[in-house]
Amino acid sequence: MSATPVSVFSIQEFLAEEREKDLLRFSTAGSVDDGKSTLIGRLLYDTQSVYEDQVKSIQGKGTTAPGQIDFALLTDGLRAEREQGITIDVAYRYFSTSRRKFIIADTPGHEQYTRNMATGASTADAAVVLIDASKGVLIQSRRHAYIASLLRVRSVIVAVNKMDLIGYNEATFQAIELDFRRLLEQIAADTGNPVEASFVPVSALAGDNIVHRSQAMPWYKGHSLLELLESLPSSVNTRQAPFRFPVQRVLRPNHMFRGFAGQIGSGTVRPGDTITVLPSGSTAEVQRIVTFDGDLEEAYAPLSVTLVLDREVDISRGDLIVSAQTPAKVAKSIQASLVWMDQRPLLLNRRYLLKHTSQTVPVVLSALHYRTDVGTLSREPAQTLHMNDIGTVSLTVLRPIALDPYGENRATGAFILIDTDTNSTVAAGMITSAGTDDGVGVGSGLVDGWGRVTAGERDARWGHRGGVLEVTGPLELLDAVERSLFSVGVVSCRIDADDDAFILHPSLLEIITRIQFQSGLLALVVRVDESGAAMARTEGEQVTLDATDSNKATAQVHQLLHSAGIFIPSEKAGL
């Protein structure tokens, strides 16, 4: 080391200080043109978090008066939005002060992009809601406050912006504060999640009350925006909460070691703790908490660790390890709030995939109880949810999952819904309650219809109709095809055509596949052929498969099922 002792000493001090810093994630929201981008640009600029070349590249550009920097250009990154002059997607920004590191999720105010607001709020500890002082509380601000509460963002800072446009008038600020506090109370009554709110009058353009307290508003005695951000409680402390550990992966480097890798969702774990594995219910004791840096005597949320148990227990990815004293609920029927995020509206009785903790399970939306009008907070009956709608639904997962209500636990109460056709993420869900009664159909939201189950109902749930698919090829390929169908949720039944039973009773194969076909199953009739040839056939269409490449062959089979109309595009599914 050739540097002078002085500089080494000070950098060591700096590094020591850095190690003390924690992290606060906050989202920003407001209506278009409330000044979000300007405000963030200003925060970054005034905390020296932007570089000179970045400032240089925006000087003399933008919409502000000559000589005045358009701070919005520091954050409006994509070409499309520079062209249109609007923010169109979530942008993440980073800055730090001597007390804290911050991650900002800058979310747009356009109605059609409100899903991004929920995205930003889902990981946020706090939300900064912008209001244009010259306009008052608009629908987007209401929507954002509602989403912050629904997604359980604890603290909301309401920044009343453009105070310069109204002559820094105190009465207007107070009227807006009063208005908004009343709204927050109504929202809390609806969502059950009260938020703590602070109000600060600012001018993002002029820099008033952003970092430093402003001389222009001597009547305001509170903190600047940045001071508020520095003093908020950081990530909700979940170390005292019940232990929850979704298993992401089983690590088995050799037969001596078997560990369960995951990120602690909540709570604390120590060697010697008794845990329960859900949904199976088996119990064991934690023997070791393994990390690359050595074993730990204690670990807590949100650390990523590997647990070794004291006995052989059947555990796989998707299982939830919980404290034996305070286990999670295991259920198949769930009530939840949904934020719909896709162009295609919600379809009742159609099958989606639900991703929850580390598992993905087929799910049916069995009832839509109501839609909440965020403008009026009224609950309205609805047939469907469109993009940006918020509703309350009943869902039935096709196998039981371990969960907590979202209000108690963000990690085990949140889920997303995925469209099996387009693979889009179509909704964000927050579990409000779950049925303990798991008898399918009994008491769950499923008993909507009556009489014999129809083909249409089966198709809607499974995402495919009945069919017979014959596949010939090497055993490995047949296994791959079956697995690939299974993993997209096809309800199939594998039949080995060379089974002796079919040789003795030649018509048996036809009878069995017909029954399966009529029950909406995909009968998968397989014949092993190790000669190097492979083919698939259904309903008169036949393709030669690439026997050397299982990936390619399975893709060919899926293509075949699409073109034969056995896989149903989701517009046609639903009843």
Partner: protein, 316 residues
């Protein structure tokens, strides 16, 4: 305060015995979660290993994520043929020491044809040697998920990137049609032929990366540290002497104490004058910097929004 040695068995105690975890522990936990999700949900993941500091951190995180099991996917390096020798040596040594499988992919046809940023422009050179090679390599091995070490704080268009960045069957990125990403629930579903780029370091800043390298004692390429090196000096710019075609007629290299702030291809990576010989000194230097880390990269500047255009075409 002395730097805590890594590799001890004490729990990652929060600062001051308070209930807080430091930001580096939080970022580490998040990244490990992402690495494990991808390894468990995709059939054929690969880690794009570019030899730089971000890749070095990403590789260490992968070791941590699967310990005591080995890293369950290969590393792939896209070699443009314009990488510093120190980089290639470091790459091979590192892969060996972590016990990971290393794949190297080059666009041999373009390299043989003498592609370089002077003959073509930087944009077309990158399209052939980087983006083209990357897409070819991914296709050749049928990878359905590829980790990259990109961070959102690097560049404006990256600030909008998802952690799981969906790419269509020709590897392209559509910034208007990204999947919403909520909580830590990542949507890993792709149709055959489509793929996902995954950025486990999305939420790290350049400062976080250096601090982590320091605390974890992660080896990095020597080129990051200041040393007397022969350089073509053109005003503020220092150009490496590795390629003859870079020299102006009659131009002679000079010995300059300098280092590289980010590692790219030899013709397009400028060095900076620096005395920073240790990681704390690099961090101290970073604190005094007034320009972003990509300012010394030629590619971001040849066109307004050029990174976004490259990303749309399939670049990282």
């Amino acid at each position: 305060m002395p730097v805590a040695p890594s590799g001890t068995s004490s729990p990652p105690s929060p600062a001051n015995g308070s209930s807080r975890l430091s930001h580096l522990r939080l970022l580490e936990a998040e990244s490990i979660h992402i690495l494990r999700e991808v390894a468990s949900e995709f059939e054929r993941p690969v880690m794009l290993y570019s030899i730089g500091k971000d890749s070095s951190v990403m590789l260490r995180l992968a070791q941590k994520a699967f310990y005591p099991a080995p890293i369950p996917f290969p590393l792939m390096h896209i070699d443009t043929g314009f990488k510093f020798n120190e980089m290639l040596e470091f790459r091979d040594r590192t892969a060996r020491s972590v016990g990971a499988e290393l794949l190297v992919w080059r666009n041999e046809a373009a390299i043989a044809a003498g592609t370089n940023p002077i003959k073509l422009d930087t944009k077309r050179c990158c399209a052939l040697l980087k983006t083209g090679a990357l897409l070819d390599g991914l296709r050749h091995y049928n990878f359905d998920a590829a980790f990259g070490g990109a961070r959102r704080d690097e560049e404006k268009s990256r600030a909008k990137e998802r952690i799981y960045s969906f790419r269509d069957s020709v590897g392209q990125w559509d910034p208007k049609n990204q999947r919403p990403e909520l909580w830590n629930l990542y949507n890993a579903r792709v149709h055959p032929g489509e793929s996902i780029r995954v950025f486990p370091l999305s939420n790290w800043t350049e400062m976080d990366v250096w601090q982590y390298i320091h605390e974890e004692k992660i080896p990095v390429v020597d080129l990051y540290f200041a040393k007397e090196r022969p350089m073509y000096v053109r005003g503020e710019a220092l150009l490496p002497v590795e390629q003859d075609f870079m020299a102006l007629p009659g131009e002679k290299p000079q010995l300059v104490k300098c280092r590289l702030r980010s590692l790219g291809c030899t013709p397009c990576t400028g060095a900076i004058r620096s005395d920073a010989e240790t990681i704390p000194e690099i961090i101290a230097e970073l604190l005094s910097f007034r320009s972003s880390e990509r300012a010394n990269r030629v590619i971001d500047h040849d066109q307004e929004g050029s990174m976004e255009i490259k990303k749309r075409e399939g670049y990282f």
